[in-house]
Symmetry: C2
Subunit: 359 residues, 2 copies
């Protein structure tokens, strides 16, 4: 049994399991290559990486695996004037956290890395698979990727977004259900109208596009993979499940928080980045949510809160860290990436046999 | 192939498919008995029915089927003083809708039917299966049901609620994911903390209880049933899928609205009943949500808005009707109950074979 699907054929991998491109240092070259070597698709979450960091990470991934891997980037959004007008007020609210951490407000030199420079690395390195979220790259970029024979995977939270991605020529689509941890990929409307549970989202999406759909959101084990295949997906993307691996670069306290959480622990918040994302509730979220109307939109708030998140990490203060996690969090285990891929595959095959045999 | 599970054995049915006990006239004896005769479990949604109406409906169900059926009731909640203090203000806000419909505020004689009287009918009629939501009945009631050999099914939206239901002796548990249409069954905490997508909820729930778990929320076809079995559920409960059947008593405009909706059409709202419920967005919801803080809690608001919903129904004004629906709504079809049960079963078996054969 190989669990081969249209997705495994498209990507040249053994099992239809993608490790999500979680940004912020979680997806170390060690994690990415371990997933690839186990037969899945590892993804470098490069959204916050400089071009130089990306180049080094890609080099290191290639040193550890000769299998296909993916790089994930964030599609840039224009910086909104209104967001800039909120900077002073939100910094006043965040002063208490900086005081608590013993830091002073950092000078912001840029709100994000340059997407063009990041993309240049993807093109120059001839990355085998490019995945993205928060929007759709320009036609020129998509054409350049295609000339490179890079396989392109977009992210959709609604059927209409999936239809738009397919029309623009992507090779596969991640359908992100409301259970998913981290940032919402919504780009075609309001995020509140795009919180569709994975069970409902996937069959509706596969009915409207021809390219393979990859289910994400709440998928943690073989039960989730088999369920996703049943719904019509050609594979799964799992983030939280890989976050607690020893190979993951997530903060030790983040891993601990995940392993101690349950399905009710997470919340959607704009507090950290200005863009809705799912993470484990903490003091920073609960206090900032009281000032929701003055939190600047992404990427402004993301840049502003960076010093706080960074200092909190150094001081092991989970109160002020962004503890991204999905709603499947109670199923988290501390296993290696290889064990996760193997166990998901074995459990899927085992379950399939069990359901089949009792009928 | 029979798709037999622990649930089909427990309930004495052929297929692990339960038609949800939607209240408000949707679950006609004709719908309930058609589902039972097709091999599933039909449920009379009796939450808003008088004891006399219940008795007549049960009699009619028995005239049309000799198979097991279920009756669903709402566990009563104390009427909150604060809710009563909001009556005048919310009626002021709702005046514009009454004016539009050409009606005047009705005199409220009671907020709900008497649960004790409703339950008396369940006991006297020796209903084969009793399901409930919004809480847990008293131990005396549970014991009386057990003495009657009535099988008892509770509703949980979190793992902790499922654990509590099992400890109190229920025979099976509906795990209600955030995709589900109609009222949230949350009773063990805040509803905002209990909106777990079905894909994430079911495996976490089955890991913590021994009784069969029934998946609900976003399940519309064989893909949803097979996915639910993969997640560890022993069956599914489907509401929206049966609402558009010709046998359903839902308003023709409600059915039409469902058949014309997509996965982004629904929203959770307290507007109609004071308790969060998922339905298709309309003018009543959008206007009332602007006054969310003065909407009395359930069952007060439910009683207050009844005249508006009733007049809107008579006048075919979907603007003021409660158009309950789940997030799987784009998959709705206008098929008979028998066709739905048969198609779900055949699709499930077919899918299972397809997934198996390609491996």
């Amino acid at each position: 049994m190989t669990l081969s699907t249209k997705l495994t054929e498209l990507l040249g991998i053994d099992f239809p399991i993608i490790q999500a491109g979680m940004a912020g240092g979680t997806t170390t070259p060690s994690l990415v290559s371990a997933v690839c070597n186990a037969g899945g698709l590892g993804t470098l979450g490069a959204g916050y990486m400089s071009p130089l960091q990306m180049r080094e990470a890609i080099k290191e991934i290639r040193q550890h695996t000769n299998r296909p891997f993916a790089v994930n980037l964030f599609i840039p959004e224009p910086i909104d004037e209104q967001a800039l007008s909120k900077v002073q007020r939100v910094n006043q609210v965040m002063k208490k956290f900086r005081d608590q951490l013993g830091i002073v407000e950092s000078q912001i030199t840029k709100f994000t890395e340059s997407f063009e420079d990041q993309l240049e690395v993807v093109l120059e390195e001839k990355v085998p698979i490019f995945s993205f979220t928060f929007g759709i790259p320009s036609t020129e970029i998509l054409q350049a990727l295609k000339r490179n024979q890079t396989i392109i995977i977009g992210t959709a939270t609604t059927v209409n977004e999936a239809i738009e991605l397919e029309a623009r020529g992507v090779d596969a689509i991640v359908g992100q259900g409301s259970e998913a941890g981290g940032h919402r990929g919504t780009f075609g409307g309001e995020f509140e109208d795009s919180l569709i549970g994975t069970m409902a989202l996937i069959p509706q999406m596969v009915d409207h596009v021809k390219v393979p759909v990859i289910a994400s959101g709440g998928i943690m084990d073989g039960r989730g993979l088999l369920a996703s295949l049943a719904l019509g997906a050609e594979g799964v993307q799992m983030g939280t499940a890989f976050l607690t691996c020893p190979e993951s670069g997530a903060h030790a306290e983040h891993k601990r928080a995940i392993l101690g959480s349950n399905e009710q622990s997470t919340v959607l918040t704009r507090s950290f980045s200005g863009k809705p994302a799912r993470g484990i509730k903490n003091k920073f979220i609960s206090e900032m949510e009281q000032h929701a109307e003055i939190i600047p939109s992404y990427p402004v708030q993301n840049a502003l809160s960076k010093d706080i998140r960074s200092a909190a990490g150094k001081q092991n203060q989970t109160d002020c860290m962004s503890l991204w996690a999905g709603q499947g969090v109670r199923l988290s285990k501390s296993k290696t990436a290889e064990e996760i891929v193997r166990d998901v595959v074995n459990q899927t095959i085992d379950l399939l046999g069990k359901i089949q045999s009792r009928n």
